[in-house]
Assembly symmetry: C2
Homo-oligomer: 331 residues x 2
């Protein structure tokens, strides 16, 4: 935080009391890589771990935002508070988030029980997954009961983001063409629930039965590992009309109950896997952050010069810079 702004302690206090402006301020600080953000995140961390995180993903145009909107409506009518993290594909140059049809969500914008945050998938070194985890922690510490992470896209970064949710929904629509096979297969293993949206469309029955066949195919190995393994089911929705959303919300609750059953054994195992992955991601980001301070622009340009002049190859040039960072070189 810049001088004159609230100290982390006051900001943290505000977030723990559910204050929207404090939360928004910390999220901006995270975006700006403000060193103060780190301190605040450390302080709120002990107050996280209560929210249920729902990941929603699938190819573009299947209605993920509309489905998110309907689920928010549902949770609100049950009196639960909700946080939404919308991870947007973005320009590699401008770094700006695109609002797109999130506009539709704005009817929840005046509801103090809902907090919506867009995250850009900016810059290669931004670290999408750590940033998303940080935003989820803020929403969790604010006391949101349910946090929905919605991401457009089928890229690895986006898969990693939704794989970090307690309950992951894979959304598709009938008649998307051949590529959908690849997406279904690629995302299959992280899906806890499958949704065929726009299910009144032609071909819906075929899409549902294809998904069911995929689930059946993978059922045995899952059940061998855990006799009470979760078996994903397929749900049909017409999100625009709100149809099938109540059943979907009930299925999310069932999956949550499954995670919590048995004295929370599964939840504990899930949490350990997440902590391990989150820790490694963060070490990697931290390492690069420190590394960049040890690399001078002149050093990088000299490396590029050598490669451009044919006096070095990129592999050898990278090794020299790596040794400079690790203090093994002459740099």
């Amino acid at each position: 935080m810049s001088p004159g702004e609230d100290r982390p302690a006051a900001l943290v206090q505000g977030i723990l009391e559910g204050d929207v402006r404090s939360a928004a301020r910390l999220m901006r600080a995270i975006d700006d890589h403000d060193p103060g953000a780190r301190e605040a995140l450390k302080q709120i961390y002990p107050h996280t771990g209560r929210a249920h995180v729902v990941g929603i993903t699938g190819p573009p145009g299947v209605g993920k935002s509309t489905l998110t909107d309907r689920l928010v409506e549902r949770y609100r009518s049950d009196g639960q508070t909700v946080g939404v993290v919308a991870v947007d594909p973005t320009s590699p140059f401008t770094g700006g988030a695109i609002l797109g049809d999130r506009i539709r969500m704005q009817r929840h914008a005046t509801d103090p029980g809902v907090f919506i945050r867009s995250l850009a998938t900016r810059g290669q070194f931004g670290g999408l997954t750590p940033s998303t985890r940080a935003v989820i922690d803020v929403l969790d510490a604010m006391g949101k009961a349910v946090i929905i992470v919605e991401t457009v896209g089928v890229g690895q970064d986006e898969v990693d983001v939704v794989a970090a949710a307690h309950t992951t929904l894979i959304v598709t629509v009938p008649g998307l063409g051949d590529d959908v096979q690849a997406i279904k297969a690629g995302l299959y293993e992280i899906g806890d629930l499958f949704v065929v949206n726009k299910c009144a469309r032609e071909g819906a029955a075929k899409t549902v039965s294809e998904l069911r066949a995929l689930i059946e195919l993978n059922r045995r190995p899952r059940e061998e590992a855990d006799p009470e393994a979760w078996v994903p089911a397929v749900y049909g929705t017409e999100a625009l009309a709100g149809e099938g959303v109540a059943e979907l919300a009930a299925a999310i609750d069932q999956h949550r109950a499954w995670l919590l059953a048995d004295d929370g054994r599964r939840l504990a195992a899930w949490r350990r896997r997440q902590l391990r992955q989150g820790l490694l991601d963060m070490v990697r980001e931290e390492l690069w952050r420190v590394a960049r301070t040890r690399l001078s622009d002149e050093g990088i340009e000299a490396g590029v010069d050598r490669i451009a002049a044919g006096r070095d190859d990129p592999y050898s040039a990278a090794e020299k810079l790596r040794d400079t960072i690790l203090g093994r070189g002459d740099g």
Copy 2:
């Protein structure tokens, strides 16, 4: 390469002579993170830089593979050799590439003038962009005149991959729904040519005119930076029937000529940007590779234990591990 296999020198010689089996062997070694692969890549590097790299991207289901197939056919009928790198979304668990409709490409598989390679977007620490660059270098050193990099997906990794092409094609189809706006905007800045495939479909004229409006909007800032800036155009194709493909191939040639004009000034600038980005990516990967050897499983588990027990937060635990790697801690 494992003992008993060819030494890098023989492998490199084979690749420079265009030998398919040598190239396939090196690509497998790259996949396996074989240390010998690195040595071979260093040796082939001086022989790269001749191929024209064409990137093809866009949302799933728009017919990118079919378009790639048609472009390959076109280049082959002109007597040019072609390499294809298909970057597939994949499971974060199995790491396996999905063939999907690449099967369709198999008619080129028996043509010695075409080399097709699928790359999985595996594991978070795999480094998709460096792996793709390495495969492009192998195809380039083999003497392929044109290399097509095709990627499903709209994720940041995939954007980075196609942004590294000389000529980048953004493919869409009419009537994909609201999300397409986001994709178009997000990908707009890296697109040299825009393709509306399945252009006989309803709504094609609307999609074309929307894309043209986007181009027009961004024309002035481009032309202010360079009065002879490339202005992207929109092409309609029916890839399945081969319609519009000749015009598209001609446009790719025009873009190439534009890059080469003016004594190659633009190409040189492009190459410097690519080298710089490639070098930084490689330093980052190299650094993490060395870092992992300095991190013990016990050290990581101890960090997870501390967080799980509430005795540490992930940020502080990551800082401790980072210091261990950098030799600043007690680890």
